[in-house]
């Protein structure tokens, strides 16, 4: 079955998938994404496993970082490439199987309606089955931090599911290589006075995704990175 929401049925809509050591899960994610009629680019962020091979077999664009630079760097590489190829709308989508292709149409809707430049998926407006309690509260703290630093009131600040227009992508030139890019994207969007909207989405947590995904201590690393980034600019 092909998923054909209006602007998804358009190769000028690009889905950027940053991936690092995701060979076991990437195949399933891509088999869902290639049903969507748009362009998909996987950025292999210096994986030690067969991530790039899995992506090649799925028949999508593949870019390869020679060394691991972090999710933010991989995203930016994919976005830059998509824009060079003429992307008009860009979606960012995680490679670990936590996102659902069924949410993509909803994600693009505010852009189609010209009511937003940047659309963020929110698990707290939607659903997050299996989310650990500590993770939930850390994410809420991230929301508070984002509100204090950027002035943007969100319900979910660190969700990899996003959509943006080409014009927004041109303005959001984020430089954080690691996970802190999520906060930086929102800060820049607020500074550039872009219209930001949230839409509900589902994030699925399983033992597998929790084992490979970010640890709770990543929150402190992100905070540290943001402090350093502000002090050195």
């Amino acid at each position: 079955m092909r998923v054909q929401p209006s602007t998804l049925n358009d190769t000028s809509t690009w889905i950027v998938v940053p991936a690092w050591n995701e060979s076991t899960r990437l195949g399933d994610v891509l088999s869902g994404l290639i049903r969507v009629e748009c362009s998909v680019v996987v950025v292999d962020d210096g994986s030690a496993d067969d991530t790039a091979e899995v992506a090649k077999q799925a028949g999508v664009w593949v870019l390869k970082h020679l060394v691991n630079r972090g999710q933010g760097a991989a995203l930016r590489t994919g976005i830059d490439f998509a824009m060079r190829e003429g992307a008009e709308r860009i979606i960012t989508f995680d490679a670990d199987g936590q996102h659902r292709t069924a949410d993509l149409a909803n994600l693009l809707k505010p852009i189609e309606e010209l009511s937003a430049d940047l659309v963020l998926g929110s698990r707290f407006l939607g659903d997050a089955p299996g989310i650990p309690v500590l993770r939930k509260y850390l994410l809420k703290l991230a929301v508070l931090f984002t509100r204090l630093t950027s002035g943007v009131q969100l319900t979910d600040a660190h969700n990899g599911l996003r959509a943006m227009t080409r014009e927004a992508a041109e303005k959001i030139r984020f430089s954080e290589d690691g996970m802190a890019h999520a906060s930086q994207i929102i800060s820049i969007a607020a500074r550039e006075r872009l219209r930001i909207k949230e839409v509900p989405c589902t994030i699925s947590y399983s033992a597998h995704t929790l084992a490979k995904g970010q640890s709770n201590s990543a929150a402190f690393k992100i905070l540290g990175r943001l402090v350093i980034s502000r002090l050195t600019r």
């Binding site: 999508v60 664009w61 290589d177």
Partner: protein, 131 residues
Amino acid sequence: MTLFQWLAGGLMVAFAVAELFLQFMQLSRRSISSIRFSVWLVALLSILYPGATGVIANFLSIGRGADLVLYSSVIAFVVAFFYVIHALEKQREQLTLLVRRIAISEPYAVSNRNSLTADPTEIGSERAGEA
């Protein structure tokens, strides 16, 4: 002069001379080199005339010359720390930029299975999702 003054003072003189030599041979940046030369010179004077730091400390209401040296060291350490962090950040950005350039210049599309280094503009006209 005490043994310490001979040893430490000699070391500072050696550093200062090395700095002048590097500047003369144009092997180091003038601004950074001048700052380092000033540090060696001040350290040398403090070693040779320990009473001088006490006079300056009194003037600044710090009390002892040793305290003045300690406070100055802390400030110098903080400045150096930020300088190093800034330099590391710049290197990080440059490395990421390099890795990104290489990645984008060698895209792989399913229609070009055997041409990883194909002309990107040429492959750009095809869409991997449709291949």
